[in-house]
Amino acid sequence: MYKYDEYDQQMVDARVAEFADQVKRRLAGEITEDQFKPLRLMNGLYLQLHAYMLRVAVPYGTLDSRQMRMLAHIARKYDRDYGHFTTRQNIQYNWIKLEDAPAILADLASVEMHAIQTSGNCIRNISSDQWAGAAADELTDPRPWAELLRQWSSFHPEFSYLPRKFKIAVIAAEEDRAAMRLHDIGIQIVEKDGVHGAAFYVGGGMGRTPMIAPLIKDFVPLDDLLSYTEACLRVYNRYGRRDNIYKARIKILIHELGADEYRRQVEEEFAHVKSLGVDPPKAEFDRIAAQFAMPPLDASASDEIDRSDPDFAVWVDQNVAAHKVPGHAIVNISLKPLGGIPGDANSAQIDLMADLAERYSHDELRVTHAQNIVLPHVRKADLLAIWQALDAADLATPNLDLISDIIACPGLDYCSLANARSIPVAQKIAQRFADPARQRDLGELKLKISGCINACGHHHAGHIGILGVDRKGTENYQLLLGGSGAEDVSLGTITGPGFDEDGIVDAIERVTDKYLSERTDGERFVDTYRRVGMAPFKEAIYG
């Protein structure tokens, strides 16, 4: 994986010094909260309901054991011993003191990490496929492009005061594990006539106006990738709406202009930008790509797995995925134990995952947008030992992509924007479907919960989505069906009137019962929904 050179380190160190100075001026009263706010936001520091929240970037979700251990250290030393892995492959800490923030950033910088641009109206952390570099189905490793974009977008002088935040995802497989088309820019590395290029999807997003990004350019030569991105951003910076925060994302601009007119403007800008020398030479790409080289895996390793322990066998079937090298596998560690908080891990668990990565996964871990952790390069012969260690730490829940593998935002328990709690609803649903055999029978079922219309819990993209709203002072939950954040991307549809906290759990059970009675062989929940439509489900829910 990518290692900083002296330039990268110096950038991060300068940022630590800058932010320490800004915090000092804020604590001394030299700048107002209004002036401080955009500065702290560009360092990932939010003011939440009870305390400051710090969001730490995990670029494209990749980290090593040393970095993972630092995340545990921060949880122990500065927070309440846990952290929350997010849908943008980052981690956030919920109980941070402003005066500690500079020291935390300095600790992070010591392991080549930072919180740069994890909030604010700038280009956010670049996200990617959590199985990048390991997946059996990928065209190439997308992360070198994500790293190039990370460097290009860091402290970008023109694009640090955009109309609104800006999220970019890069993938290189047909199976979309990064919700690519629900990003402001989704880039897919594709192949045409034996040459790799980039398909640009621009103007997707969730929030209160969810949109699937249209294809703006089907094949951008990779030598032009940064200048094409710069052109996309410049058109947005100049013409994105600034009169209304709710209409300021690029999806609204593209919706109002139309994809064709936006494309025309980008092409015109690109013709100019390309002359500026924005794109680094191939030597720079090669320098970065070399650091993402596949670790030395033994392709003659045994493909045999001893499945004599039935619990282990269940976990292997559910949480282990195919690796591109024979004898190896990708381990998905669920952070969704029964009754737990989706995406949370305590410092001991984080340390344990770091240890396992160091010992069994060539020192690499990934954070997934579904708020789980991945060990990407594991020998099949080591799976049993890994499972035993995970099981002892309550990290072996065999529920990847099942109904209890829930994405949930922090909700009203933490977030100052939320209208309703997400976490207790997630916990009640997991309890209702606690029987592992029942979950497996339901099959792949992506359930996503947001505690407000901003959709941090991706409810629009859930096979089943839940949106918490405030209805005359009481928490109320709307139910959506039929969304997807994957390659079959779609937006969910609201079933009808909402429910209270227990009512929503009952409603979901009626929906899943209906699915079981309607499904044909091999159909996932979302397939059945697409085939039969909303009406039978509505009938089952509301009578």
Partner: protein
């Protein structure tokens, strides 16, 4: 490091509309929602372009500045309005060489902000050599 300060008695800036309509003015003010490219045919007779920042969050002026510099404008390019010390380094990278903040800035803070970043990841309008070029000579 602030190369120009707003001098008393300099020629006042005219609006973009006024400038385009007639005018032998040599100083023009560009509001944040106005198209910098409208000035491109006239750059050789301009000695001052003032770009408005009505709010520091309104980042359109950064693109305006780069567009003007990329088109070859070499005169004074001034950021006027809600210009704060923490934005100045980015403004300078985008081509501004003069600043007219509504509220006075502490010169020591300005100096610190402008000297904080030894290198930059990306090229902009300030002629700085991007890090990728430093890496490969």
């Amino acid at each position: 490091m602030v190369e120009h300060l707003q001098a008393d008695g300099e020629e006042p800036c005219v609006t973009l509309d006024a400038f385009l309509e007639q005018s032998n003015a040599t100083a023009v003010r560009l509001e944040s929602d106005e198209d910098a490219r409208a000035l491109i045919p006239h750059l050789d007779r301009l000695s001052l372009i003032e770009v408005a920042f009505p709010k520091f969050r309104d980042g359109r002026g950064y693109s305006s500045a780069r567009i003007l510099r990329e088109a070859g404008y070499t005169g004074e390019l001034r950021a006027q309005g809600d210009v704060l010390v923490d934005q100045i380094a980015y403004m300078k990278r985008c081509g501004f060489d003069s600043f007219a903040p509504e509220k006075d800035l502490n010169p020591a803070d300005v100096e610190a902000a402008l000297s904080r970043w030894p290198e930059h990841y990306q090229g902009a309008a300030d002629g700085a050599v991007p890090i990728w070029k430093l890496r490969h000579g």
